[in-house]
């Protein structure tokens, strides 16, 4: 609320330097990415995204709808996206749980959208106003069945802005739901955010049908070599049919094992085939590191301090920050594991052990876990102690 929009640039783009809340930076990132439609339901600690967009989105010609619940929010953004909108919803763990069924629908219908989950202490109502990182696996596996998505994890308000833009681009490129897995600390942190001019904001368009409607039959689920089908929107005359049922290239239900195998494999492979393009990491001191801290989100800020403290003590510590949490940066971990130089991994996270399982399955080296149930950040000192142990 109370966004000062009297700055350089268009009303949509608050070009310049700001001292900005993480949640607000996420909302501004969505606007910069060309957000057309937001549907959401208030929930701590994501509410500021909803409030900011209630104020800002209508001013730039977009549509803001406060829905009756999160089930409705996700359904509404899928409908709007099916009609061509760049659409967004923002929530926290409990609301994210409610969205899971239609996240599967987004995967199956290949409808791009961005879903922000600002994680708080969980399970259940948990700690609404305090930090948690317990939704990492929910983001990957929350809906029923096998599928692949992309999830980004910002560690600063600036990254909330940058990664929201990237999330929209990846969603449109791969025709998938993309998650921004923020946490309460990052969402409620105020820091310097630089918003660049429009020509520095990348936009990946959706792949669209290569012919006019009626010219010939359009097959809405016939993928090209990149495993991604072009997308026709509602009201364009292609008379498309979208269903959550297993379907053929025409979009018609095809309830048999062969069609299911082909569809589910393609939906999964289209993400893995583009994994290297969407996998972002930050590497600190990895060129000679013997102890590597694998980290993400707000915990990465403590981990960075811990690594610096360790270096001051002469310990060859390094940091691998997963900016992309899903697909997990497997190759980066494997390369370190097989370097012959790294002796140990340390994985601090505000949950009882989620990212550490990913690291454990990728290495035979020791993996030291640092886990907290939630409610507070893990201190640099406690990470430092495990690095030094």
């Amino acid at each position: 609320m109370g966004a000062d929009t009297k700055v350089a640039g268009s009303p949509r783009l608050m070009v310049g330097e700001h001292f900005m809340l993480g949640d607000h930076a996420c909302a501004e990132g969505a606007l910069a990415a060309g957000l057309d439609f937001f549907a959401g339901y208030p929930i701590t600690p994501s509410t500021e995204i909803c409030e900011r967009l209630a104020h800002r989105l209508p001013q730039v010609g977009g549509r803001f709808v406060q829905m009756e619940d999160e089930l409705g929010s996700i359904a509404a953004i899928l409908g709007a996206s099916a009609a061509g909108a760049r659409s967004l919803t923002a929530t926290s763990g409990p609301g994210f749980s409610l969205m899971m069924e239609n996240i599967g629908l987004a995967v199956m219908m290949e409808i791009p959208c961005v879903i922000v989950d600002v994680m708080r202490g969980s399970p259940s109502t948990g700690l609404p106003t305090l930090v948690g990182q317990g939704d990492v696996f929910q983001a990957r596996w929350g809906s029923h069945g096998d599928y692949s998505i992309v999830a980004f994890s910002p560690s600063s308000p600036q990254e909330c802005f940058d990664l929201t833009i990237r999330a929209f681009n990846v969603a449109d490129q791969l025709r998938i739901p993309v998650f921004l897995l923020m946490d309460e600390t990052i969402g409620h942190m105020t820091e310097r955010v630089v918003i660049p001019p429009a020509d520095q904001i990348p936009r990946t368009p959706r792949k669209r049908p290569g012919h006019a409607p009626g010219e010939k039959l359009f097959l809405p689920f016939k993928a090209d070599g990149d495993l991604i089908p072009p997308m026709a929107h509602a009201g364009e005359g292609y008379n498309v049919h979208f269903t959550g049922l297993t379907h053929d290239e025409r979009g018609y239900p095809a309830l048999n094992a062969q069609a299911h195998e082909e569809l589910v494999m393609r939906l999964s492979r289209k993400v893995s085939a583009h994994a290297s393009e969407v996998t972002l990491v930050e590497e600190v001191y990895l060129e000679d590191a013997e102890v590597v801290v694998v980290t993400f989100g707000c915990t990465a800020r403590s981990a960075r301090r811990a690594v610096n403290l360790a270096r001051q003590r002469g310990i060859k510590a390094g940091l691998l920050r997963a900016i992309t949490l899903w697909p997990f940066p497997e190759e980066h971990v494997r390369r370190l594991s097989e370097s012959g130089r790294v002796k140990r991994f340390v994985v601090p996270e505000i949950n009882l052990g989620q990212v550490c399982r990913e690291v454990e399955r990728l290495t035979s080296l020791p993996v030291d876990r640092i886990n907290r149930a939630g409610g507070a950040m893990i201190s640099p000192q406690s990470i430092m102690e495990v690095i030094a142990a």
Binding site: D36, F37, A39, P58, Q59, V60, G61, R63, F64, V65, M67, E68, D69, L71, G72, S73, A75, A76, I77, L78, G79, A80, S81, A82, A83, G84, A85, S87, E101, N102, L105, M109, P213, A234, G235, E236, G237, Y238, N239, V240, H241, F242, T243, G244, L245, R250, Y252, P253
Partner: protein
């Protein structure tokens, strides 16, 4: 569907049936049971599309899950077969982003009023520009005949083997109470009236709710001794009373009592501002009580007390 049989001087051979282009002929045969009412309702919707004057590519059909939810898959417009209960908010997303499109939701009573009930009442309250065709067959047909929120008192189903003891919804009353601008109830026997109601819904700026009573001989008829679909149609013919001014709290359906009427009609048709999210201008002040609705209500009560 051309025919070469016994051509008389009055017969005109046509290349295609007028509604062929609105149906996905490549999807036939359909999945519906013999004597199911859903096919007739699809026909009414398709006829309404062709008569609406709205170009085909401006119609969008959204459905949920169940036999009725399959309707979207047979209609040759942009169509979305969504998840159970979520057709209305999905349709809201389309209707809000593309207000030039005419979005119709076809789904069942269980989908729209049980698992999707919250979305239904809020979309009606907001007066979202949608036409809802709610196919009420008194049970969950796709899963094999379980009770739902419309199953009549004492009716049997696979989950009410001793008869249902829950009071069912009176859907027109519900839709009116939560703010729908147009509310109707018809049966699959009333195909002309149904088509007209759908047309009125399509041209209504706001939330139109049309309940259609429809036989489900497999799921509902069999355990309730209604026999074949034709028998349920005979009941409709025998018991339906058209009363556009019916007092809506009184139009519960008592299928067990052969003497009680099934009241059908176009009950509510009022003008209210349709849902149109703000575009940066201050919203209007607190809305005043809607004189049209108040008048309609008074009128309903009066005409209802006047007898039928």
């Amino acid at each position: 569907m051309t025919t070469a049989a016994s051509v008389t001087s009055h017969t005109r051979i046509v290349e295609a049936h007028p509604i062929d282009k609105v149906l996905r002929a490549d999807r036939f045969p359909h999945i519906l049971c013999p004597a199911c009412g859903i096919g007739s309702i699809i026909h009414c919707y398709v006829q309404a599309i062709t008569e609406s004057g709205i170009p085909l590519n401006q119609h969008v059909c959204v459905s949920g899950i169940g036999c009725s939810g399959r309707a979207a898959g047979y209609i040759n417009v942009d169509s979305y077969h969504t998840t159970h209960g979520r057709a209305v908010p999905f349709a809201l997303g389309i209707a809000v982003y593309r207000p030039d499109l005419r979005v119709t939701v076809i789904s069942g009573d269980g989908d729209l009023t049980s698992i999707g009930g919250n979305h239904l009442i809020h979309a009606a309250r907001r007066n979202v520009n949608l036409t809802i065709i709610c196919i009420n067959n008194f049970n969950y047909g796709m899963t094999g005949g379980q009770a739902g929120p419309t199953t009549p008192l004492s009716a049997k189903s696979s989950t009410t083997p001793f008869g249902s003891w829950e009071r069912p919804f009176n859907l027109p009353h519900l839709a009116h109470a939560v703010g729908a601008s147009f509310v109707a109830r018809w049966t699959v026997l009333h195909i002309r009236q149904l088509k007209e109601a759908v047309l009125r819904g399509m041209h209504k700026q706001g939330f139109a709710f049309i309940e259609v009573l429809s036989p489900c001989p497999t799921g509902f008829g069999r355990p309730n001794d209604i026999g074949e679909g034709l028998e349920e149609m005979r009941r409709y013919r025998r018991r339906c009373q058209v009363d556009d001014h019916a007092y809506l709290p009184d139009i519960d359906i008592d299928l067990t009592n052969d003497d009680s009427p099934i009241v059908v009609g176009n009950f509510v048709d009022v003008e209210r501002p349709p849902f149109h999210p703000a575009l940066g201008e201050p919203a209007a002040a607190t809305p005043k009580p809607d004189p049209d609705r108040a008048a309609a209500r008074t009128q309903s009560r009066e005409s209802s007390s006047n007898g039928q």
